[in-house]
Structure formats: structure tokens, C-alpha cells
């Protein structure tokens, strides 16, 4: 019984979010097909076909797949399920979160969201209550729709061998929704989801101008920038930097939380990081309970010194 993974991409490049999904899929089956649906996206199919563990690539191209609208992709995915597919998997990025429940409902099966571990063919572990409770879930559905937390599985590597790419028949356009605009935050820094080091700022920074102090530290370390909800709500930085229960869940080697108190909703997004550093002037801040190294100090005093010390 096979796995069908839905690839996330921008029609030119494959998102790295699929690589941990392939690793998870390998624990369930050795027949792994990846569906690349988009517009003019042969290059993506080519990249997928070289991912270690992928046995086949299905390529579906149409102008109305360009923006990966759930209304257009869901019928296409359902049509692929006929052929011996037991698992439908996608990353639990906003792409997967938006799409997969629509697919599950059309198949009349439950979805298992954001898994962090696979116990057996039908039993999975996922987090609930902002990561404070781990639940072991068994499904009785014949088809298992699953989204995978990227930071919980090692990324599959790119191999030399290329698997077969088959073009598939597309489903007709539904036209229920139309793409209107996209504002992509451009950054030369590493991607927050996959960065080795993340430097995050919170309410303690006070305003957008001060948040630049975080950027300086991040650049010294070649790190991605994260933020607490308070910092995003305050307009210090854009929403795509939010780490937490409702933002991104990251697990870098080093996470530096600056001016972040450590609400449970924020901890849910970063507490699986290997090493956590907290800098906060409030010695009672809950973030210190999760930090390996804590510095009780005024961040405006510390950050310039840290910048100098890292530069050495």
C-alpha cells in the first residue's frame, strides 16, 4: 500500500518542507509517489524525482493549479487515491493545513494533523493544547490523511538516482476562488523553518526600530529571525516570523529568545530546540524555565555587547 505526498512549491522551486515528509512516509511504505500540481512546474517534478525514497512523481499541470488553491487541488488529489494509496501526506505548513482537511472531508475520512512521531501503520503521535499534551492517536479509516510537522523528522536527502515522472490527466477547473495578490516577505536570511540558528524578539524590544537590534545579532550568527505574537501584533515585524502555537514550529540547534516572556503559546513553537538561550530583564519570566542558558539583563544593555562579542 502506497503513500501519496502532495508537494509544496512555487512552480519553480521545491519547498524543503517536503523532505521531512518523505522521511516520515518511508516509515509507512516503500512505495512513495509525490504529486506535483502546478503551472509550468516541470523543474519542480525533476527536483522531486531526485529526492531519496521517492519512487514515482505524478505531474499535473494547468493554469488554474498555479496558485495551489485548495478548491482546485482537492478534486485532483482525490482522483489519485484509486490506485492502491493508503496514505495522503503533506507538510503541516500553511499550504498543507489549508489543503488537506478539504481532501479528507471529500473522502469522508478524518485527518491526523501535525504528527511528530509514527508508532505503527495506523498509530501516530501529535501535540495538543499548545504542545503541553502529546496524544497517541489510532485511526480506523482506510485512507489516512496526515500532515507532518517538518521539524520532527530528518529531511530526506537529494540522491543521484531519478525516479519516473508521469504526467497525469488534470481535473476540470472549479473556479470557486480566484487568486488576487501575494505579498512575499523577501529576505536574504535563512528560512525560519529550516535555519540552524534562530534569533527571536518579543515585546521587550518595544518598537519596530529597536527590533533592528535582533537583525544585527541574527546577521552575526547567520540566523533566521523569529518573533513572539506580541512583536508581530505590535507591528515590529511581519506575520511570517511568528513562532508559536499558531505560527511556525521550529526546532533549530540554537534558539535565542530576546525580550520574550515565554507564554505557553510561544513555547509551543520552540521548546524542541536543542539549545535555548533567554535574555530578559524579568528574572521571573517563564522563558527561563525552558532555557539552557539565561541572562537576566536589560536587552538594550546586552545586545550591543553581544554584537561585539560575536564579532570577535
Amino acid at each position: 500500500m502506497g503513500v501519496l505526498i502532495i508537494a509544496e512549491h512555487n512552480n519553480q522551486t521545491l519547498s524543503a518542507s517536503i523532505l521531512p515528509v518523505v522521511t516520515a512516509a518511508k516509515q509507512l511504505s516503500n512505495k512513495i509517489t509525490v504529486l506535483v500540481a502546478g503551472h509550468d512546474c516541470v523543474a519542480v517534478a525533476d527536483a522531486v524525482s531526485r529526492v531519496e525514497g521517492v519512487t514515482q512523481v505524478s505531474l499535473a499541470q494547468a493554469e488554474y493549479f498555479q496558485h495551489h488553491l485548495a478548491e482546485e487541488l482537492a478534486p485532483l488529489i482525490i482522483k489519485q487515491v484509486e490506485d492502491d494509496i493508503e496514505y495522503l501526506m503533506a507538510p503541516s505548513s500553511t499550504f498543507g493545513k489549508n489543503l488537506m482537511p478539504r481532501v479528507a472531508a471529500l473522502l469522508d475520512v478524518a485527518q491526523i494533523s501535525d504528527i511528530i512521531n509514527i508508532k505503527s501503520a495506523d498509530t501516530f503521535v501529535r501535540t495538543t493544547y499548545a504542545g503541553n499534551v502529546l496524544a497517541t492517536i489510532q485511526t480506523q479509516d482506510p485512507i489516512k490523511v496526515i500532515t507532518v510537522r517538518a521539524s520532527a523528522f530528518e529531511p530526506a536527502s537529494h540522491g543521484d538516482k531519478q525516479s519516473k515522472i508521469a504526467s497525469i490527466t488534470v481535473t476540470p477547473k472549479t473556479g470557486l476562488s480566484t487568486f488576487h495578490a501575494r505579498e512575499v516577505t523577501k529576505s536574504k536570511r535563512p528560512d525560519l523553518n529550516t535555519a540552524r540558528v534562530v534569533v527571536s524578539g518579543g515585546r521587550g524590544l518595544g518598537n519596530a526600530e529597536n527590533f533592528k537590534l535582533i537583525e544585527e545579532i541574527a546577521d552575526k550568527l547567520g540566523a533566521a529571525i523569529g518573533a513572539s505574537r506580541a512583536a508581530v501584533d505590535g507591528g515590529y515585524i511581519s506575520n511570517d516570523h511568528q513562532v508559536g502555537q499558531t505560527g511556525k514550529v521550529v526546532a533549530p540547534e540554537l534558539y535565542i529568545a530576546i525580550g520574550i516572556s515565554g507564554a505557553i503559546q510561544h513555547l509551543a513553537g520552540m521548546k524542541d530546540s536543542k539549545v535555548i538561550v533567554a535574555i530578559n530583564k524579568d528574572p521571573e519570566a517563564p522563558i527561563f524555565e525552558s532555557a539552557d542558558y539565561g541572562l537576566v539583563a536589560d536587552l538594550f544593555d546586552v545586545l550591543p555587547k553581544l554584537c561585539v562579542a560575536l564579532g570577535k
Binding site: H67, A70, A74, T94, F95, K97, N98, M100, P101, R102, A104, A105, D108, V109, A110, Q111, S113, D114, T123, T127, T128, Y129, G131, N132, A135, T136, Q138, T139, Q140, L176, S177, T178, F179, H180, R182, V184, T185, N193, L221, R229, V232, S238, D240, T246, L254, I264, Q265, V275, V277, F288, E289, S290, D292, G294, L295, V302, K305, L306, A309, L310
Partner: protein
Amino acid sequence: MKVLVAVKRTVDANIHVRVKQDGSGVEDANIKMGINPFCEIAIEEALRLKEANMANEVVVVSVGSKVCEDVLRHGLAMGADRGILMETDQPLQPLSIAKVLSSVIHTESPDLVIMGKQSIDGDNNQTGQMLSALLGWPQGTFASKLDLQNNQIFVTREVDDGLETLALSLPAVVTTDLRLNQPRYLSLPNIMNARKKTINVLNVDDLNIDIKSRLRTLEVHEPPKRSGGVKLNSVEELVDKLRNEARVI
């Protein structure tokens, strides 16, 4: 235009939940409960549409046991016109909730459904998408801005690399993200006033819908606690530890 808002009763967002000793679930006795924060944002947005004369009725719906009336009253106190409780004592999963809501929608025929993107207990982030699939409607998930124009709704969505705006034909389902709005506080007169508003109670068992659970929770446990770290005295010490002890920079 009629707007229907689906709301869920959850544990209060500031409560740190504990797992029961036997691992069968979380401690729910004497825990402060309330409206799921994302659902409150959904009600607020519906009310703003009404106050801008773009909607004429806001109906709040909840699926659950009798106690869920309190979150419906919360919605009514915010300003919703009436409530519907789809009563059941079974804990329902997202697919079943979507099916129950879809049956309510067939009766109520709203032009727009607004609901939270996820509940802070299950963290599933599924019900809105499932509901729109069952209805064959478009979906606008993780919304941070809505703009209603001529039988179309423009939904700005918070996505991983920024913001995306979609145009949806109505009727549609929209799920709310945190930055869509700041919900209003309840005033005492409005709380009193809400007591006079109607809540219709219907029994889920009368609907003839398959709400059998497909998923079984075998066990729950708390994640391993991080061992408390050390407090350092200076930046130099911190950089030294990161370089020579943790070896991460």
C-alpha cells in the same frame, strides 16, 4: 446578508492543562472554560460587517453539550442576534462537527460562515476547511483581513512566506487568524440583554448524521520537561558557553 459564526467552548487560553494520572485524558474538573479565542475573533468580524450595514443578521452556533450555551451567551452579549446549540454529549471530532454544521447551514442558508482557524485544545485546524468541502463552497483560511464587495469576498490570508489575497464567490467559509481584529469587551448591559435573546436547542441524534469517531486516543502524556538551565552573569560568559560548552556557534 446573513452571517453564521461557529463557536467552540474550550479551556481558557491561560490555563496550563495537566494530564490525568492514568493517561486517559486531561484534567477537566474545575478548570476555567470559555470561548475559543479564534471563535471570539470570528464573532467580532461578523458584528463589524453588521455594523457596517453589510450584514443584517449574525447567528452563533455551537456543537456540544448543554454547557456550551455559555459560549453562545458570550456571542449574544457581544452582539449576535440569536444562537443555535446542536446538543450532544459525545465529544465530536472535526469531521463530525463539520457534518453537523453543514446540516445547520442547509436549514439556515447563510451567505457567509466565519469560524476560528483552530481550537486551542485540539489544535487540529480542520473544521472550516472540512465544512467548505462538504458544502462545495470556497474557503478563505487564516484570514487577517476581509473585504466584502458585490457578492465577492476578498480574504487576505496569513501564509508561511507572507500574505496572500484570494477572491471568493459567496457563499463561502472564512477561518480567522489572530490579527483579523481585536474582539470587544462585554458590557454589563449587553450581558443582561443577551439573556433575553433566543437560543434554539436541537439534538444532534435527531439529524441522522454519521458522527462515529474514526480516531481513538490511545493515551496522552506530557512532553519531557526540559531540565532547568543555568543563569549566567555576563555576555562574555554566554558567548563562551555557546562556543565551548554547547558548541553551537
